[in-house]
Symmetry: C2
Subunit: 197 residues, 2 copies
DNA sequence: CCCCAAGTATACCGATCTGTATAGTGGACA
DNA sequence: TGTCCACTATACAGATCGGTATACTTGGGG
């Protein structure tokens, strides 16, 4: 199975497998996509696929963990662009980044939320990846809000989290146009009305 | 197939099928549950199941439409409880109702969002049910906000929608305790700060 | 009394599912 | 030159998938 800290060593074939899996899992759901299709789309035999990953479950883990890694790198790059940023501007930049990301890669909403809908066993290794992603986002907001000097950083961060998750869902379901702009507006109002310590 | 306006005639066996399907689909996901299991859990043969529904797809439609109906009835009952209610109180009551509903039936978040994650074909009949549910909720918020006399009812309603969807997701993933209370607090602040026409 | 709707019981269909087995190929590197 | 390593090709196993077929039972209403 060739693991390195729960992750798989990414040979060229393995990388193509994860890329194909990400595209197929995200578009059609995890259970709707078989390993035969993944292998075919990756231009790889099932033998190679199982030599690298050992199980479909492990491909799911790589799919989610890889996507999370890319999102974090994407977000970090967007946050570093800001020069001498006010903390409030950094919070709003998270919504802008999410809007851009979702426009490019997020037509079906949050991959973590969607995967969670298909997994019932809390012992599934993907569960930890999903939970960690949401914890990380909440802590990101908490840190940024604390920088901004808000009185109750925890509850403010949670409110931002609700707006952000709501925007992801609204975008995925096409509830109304540009939900990230709406969420960003609310976030600004929320931060503007907050008492400073 | 015995349809009545796109829906199935609910004989006793058919009702048990939908009940079993709802429990299993919601807990494990749609593609993860086979019709054999549904029939067994309903105490019904596959013959009966297919005589009533004709296809698994139709069971999915009944599952979602039935759950939506129950939610709307649940919410209507909670809203009617309020006597001589201010419109703002009615908005907050939606979040209270959602909190109560989710505590009883919503451990995995929104059934519509979860189903959407597993369906890729926009022509799937369940798609219309999902979209209609979200449209209905948005219009509900819009109507309530308009009653409250807010200046920009549409954008206020969308903000409430984001908070509500965010709370459903946060609850389903267990991101932090009592997300509906947090969403309700934000909703109140949002309504309180709104300019009246 | 007889019919009909709703149901049971059971067996089957072809397709697809995850996962394994066997045998062989081509390149990099020591 | 020889040995790994990543990979191809193909075939197969056992289970489960959605869906169908045949034959029978039961209870209530004209």
């Amino acid at each position: 199975m060739e693991l390195t800290g729960g992750r798989v060593r990414m040979t060229p074939g393995a990388r193509r497998v994860v890329e194909a899996a990400e595209r197929l899992f995200y578009a059609h759901g995890i259970h709707a996509v078989g390993v035969d299709l993944i292998a075919a789309e990756a231009g790889v035999t099932k033998k190679t696929l199982y030599d690298r990953f050992g199980s479909k479950e492990q491909i799911v883990v790589e799919y989610l963990a890889g996507r999370d890694e890319r999102w974090r790198a994407f977000l970090a790059e967007r946050l570093e662009r800001l020069e001498r940023p006010a903390a409030e501007a950094r919070v709003l930049a998270v919504f802008d980044a999410s809007r851009e990301w979702s426009g490019e890669f997020g037509a079906k909403g949050c991959a973590m939320v969607n995967a969670h809908a298909e997994i019932s066993d809390p012992g599934h290794p993907a569960y930890a990846v999903i939970a960690a992603q949401k914890t990380w986002m909440l802590e990101l907001f908490t840190g940024l809000v604390r920088e901004a000097g808000a009185e109750d950083a925890d509850s403010t961060a949670r409110a931002l989290m609700l707006l952000h998750e709501g925007a992801l869902v609204a975008h995925g379901l096409g509830m109304f146009p540009d939900p990230f702009a709406a969420a960003r507006d609310q976030a600004r109002a929320l931060l503007g009305g907050v008492r400073r310590s």
